[in-house]
Assembly symmetry: C2
Homo-oligomer: 425 residues x 2
């Protein structure tokens, strides 16, 4: 490639904008037929995708990447089939584009409609999993958006192959050219160029670790939707059913511990601490969970380590749980708002009034009453698909489905209304 990185990426931006105008005009059935064609093309290309992935796997092995990294990078027939099936599933979902959000008439006769439209062009910056190439591009396409993808260097051959198959397979069914583009560079300059290109890019979504998100946030001139940590809490109120509280604690912490909606800190009301803590500790230890506690917790569970200030701010993503005894609902809410990441927090209580206060006062995307934190998920919410869980408060908060990949416009119809006076028509 002889063109410079900025020239190449700016050209991709201009092409994405042109594609976006065409994508915005496609009706849902037309888009769904393209999605099914993309899925078929992925299946047909299985040998080519496996060959491309083998290049990435060989390079990764040569660099002695960890077993976990290698697993994330690996494609096989099952994973390619899962990508294809995922695309077919997206084809079955309702399309939010064109939906009339609100409509009203003004006294002067203006008819105003607020209508969902695509955002336009979306940049996705992600790390090692090649399946993100398909997942992100397909959700953006379903909602009429053009994508510019920038994946990690480890997966470059796999990502290129997947993006090419999606674009070519889609074009055979009518996909506009340049609807799905992958940046062929994997150095950091390409992230900077993309993040500064606000003329051509309407939104950027970094999918990956905190370092990646921080980099994008500090560089970006366009809106960024961030998916930061989940430091999730469960507060066991004095009026909690102990059996339910134990079941929800164990499920929230251990059903899958390496995910953003897993529990990290347990808060226990002082009035039940002496009876509840030994029971929940037994249940958690049976699942291999390491416990760390505040002084009041350690007065009951005398053999556990001390939880430090760092623990309250930690997203362990591991079988570790910090425990704090609190004096009141107010203290629980204050701890969560101070130390949490405003992702998902739960109260367990049989008292509806206490629950209502918790739900209103905790400043998090998802606030739960008597539900495992693991249900903070687009699939569990019924969205059918999820591009991520936003820890931002603007545009999209919490699980993001297709609707969150749209914007809106106001369409106003009149018969000659002028501001200066009267109707000429």
């Amino acid at each position: 490639m002889s063109a410079s990185i900025p020239d190449t990426i700016h050209l991709m931006g201009r092409q994405a904008r042109a594609a976006a105008y065409r994508l915005a005009q496609l009706d849902s059935e037309y888009k769904n037929a393209i999605l099914r064609a993309m899925a078929a093309a992925l299946r047909d290309a299985t040998p080519a995708l496996l060959a491309a992935n083998a290049l990435d796997m060989a390079a990764a092995s040569a660099k002695s990447l960890s077993a976990a990294m290698l697993d994330r990078l690996r494609l096989d027939k099952t994973r390619i089939e899962a990508m294809a099936a995922g695309i077919e599933q997206v084809a079955t979902l309702a399309d939010p584009v064109g939906q009339v959000i609100d409509a009203w008439q003004r006294p002067n006769g203006l008819n105003i409609e607020q209508v969902r439209v695509p955002i336009g062009t979306i940049g996705i910056i992600y790390e090692s999993r090649p399946n993100v190439t398909a997942d992100a591009a397909v959700l953006c396409f379903k909602t009429g958006n053009a994508t510019i993808l920038r994946g990690g260097s480890e997966a470059i051959h796999s990502n290129r192959a997947i993006a090419e198959v999606l674009q070519a397979g889609g074009e055979a069914a009518g996909l506009p050219e340049h609807a799905i583009q992958l940046i062929p560079f994997t150095d950091r300059e390409s992230v900077a160029v993309l993040a500064q290109m606000d003329r051509w890019l309407d939104l950027i979504i970094p999918r990956g670790g905190k370092g990646l998100i921080e980099t994008v946030v500090s560089l970006a001139r366009m809106p960024v939707i961030k998916h930061y940590d989940g430091i999730c809490h469960l507060f066991v109120d004095a009026a909690a059913d102990p059996a339910m509280a134990i079941a929800l604690t164990v499920d929230s912490k251990t059903q899958k511990c390496g995910v953003c909606n897993a529990l990290e800190t347990l808060l226990v009301h002082r009035d039940i601490a002496a009876s509840f803590l030994p029971r929940v500790a037994t249940a958690l230890r049976a699942k291999g969970v390491e416990l760390r506690g505040c002084a009041a917790t350690r007065a009951v569970l005398t053999d556990i380590a001390t939880a430090t200030e760092d623990d309250w701010r930690s997203e362990y993503l591991d079988l570790i749980l910090s425990i704090k005894v609190v004096d009141s609902l107010e203290a629980a809410v204050a701890h969560i708002n101070e130390y949490g990441s405003h992702h998902t927090d739960c109260i367990v209580t049989a008292d509806a009034a206490t629950a209502g206060r918790f739900l209103r006062e905790v400043d998090s995307a998802c606030v739960f009453h008597n539900v495992s934190t693991r249900f903070a998920d687009g699939g569990e919410f019924g969205f059918g698909a999820e591009i991520g869980i936003s820890t931002d408060k603007l545009h999209a908060r919490g699980p993001m489905g297709l609707r969150e990949l749209t914007s809106y416009q106001y369409r106003v119809r009149g018969n000659g209304q002028t501001k200066g006076g009267g109707v000429i028509g």
Copy 2:
């Protein structure tokens, strides 16, 4: 003030966050009583506000600011009364906080509500008009948000006086402390510190010229809602009623020309150019409008200047209009999407199908059919109040009312649902 600029602003941020948690819990009637108390306090403080403003006016005169700048800066009894009346009007508006946007039940029994909540803490950076201090703070307060205001140096005495009266007058009626804070510094460092303080600030809104917005966009780590130019178009289709097209052109251009929803470029379908252009030119010249045209326009209006590439990208904010003859609807849409600012664009036509295509294909916040562009306004849309007109596509697009100053959270109620299996309850 002995504390450093960063220390002072970070403390204000922490205080704003604490205020925001309290503001989020206030019910509408309580907030409305505070608003009425703020309005009364402003009226009572008229002599003090005039005295503070006199300091700013004296400094501005000494610096030989333009007459227009001096007028923007000036407070008088009428303007203070208008601020107070504006606050009382905001008290009469419906409060979006607490509104249930959507609610549904999942097959496993989870009850999910999506509820409007305040955004939290909002920074407003603005230039010389002191009334913005009251307007912005009050709209943010009505929606349960804490504000940190950073006004221009010319209005610093007026801004401090207004902010102090609003906070003190509100506190007498129960406003939490630090709900409305004004940064006492007016140098550029304070903008940078505010824009980087994403821990304490959820949103930043720059209100002012392009230079200010660009500065904030390049510095900000939190979401920015931008109010860029309005390069608005009106397309006179071949099927337009000429009398309506002339009336809408004249109104859009001249009813008030220094505003973002005023017309800047007129597009005329080739089929009617020869008959329409002389008529519209006569009507526009009668209002003192200078015309600049493309070659085809100048073939009809032989005495006007040539419109250059720069003209198509200009927001004149003045009695100047560029005119281009286009071959088709497609050409009109392509010109608007390429040269416009995606703010407000109108088609004049008697053909509903053509209008429908225009509304769908033009990528602007407001797309109008047979309506003056001057109606792109929160007041005209019936929002009751307007914090600005967003040229962004995320979170808020077009006129922003109270609803656009809110976020949402998901409140989920269950009876012991665990992801690992079944209900314990």
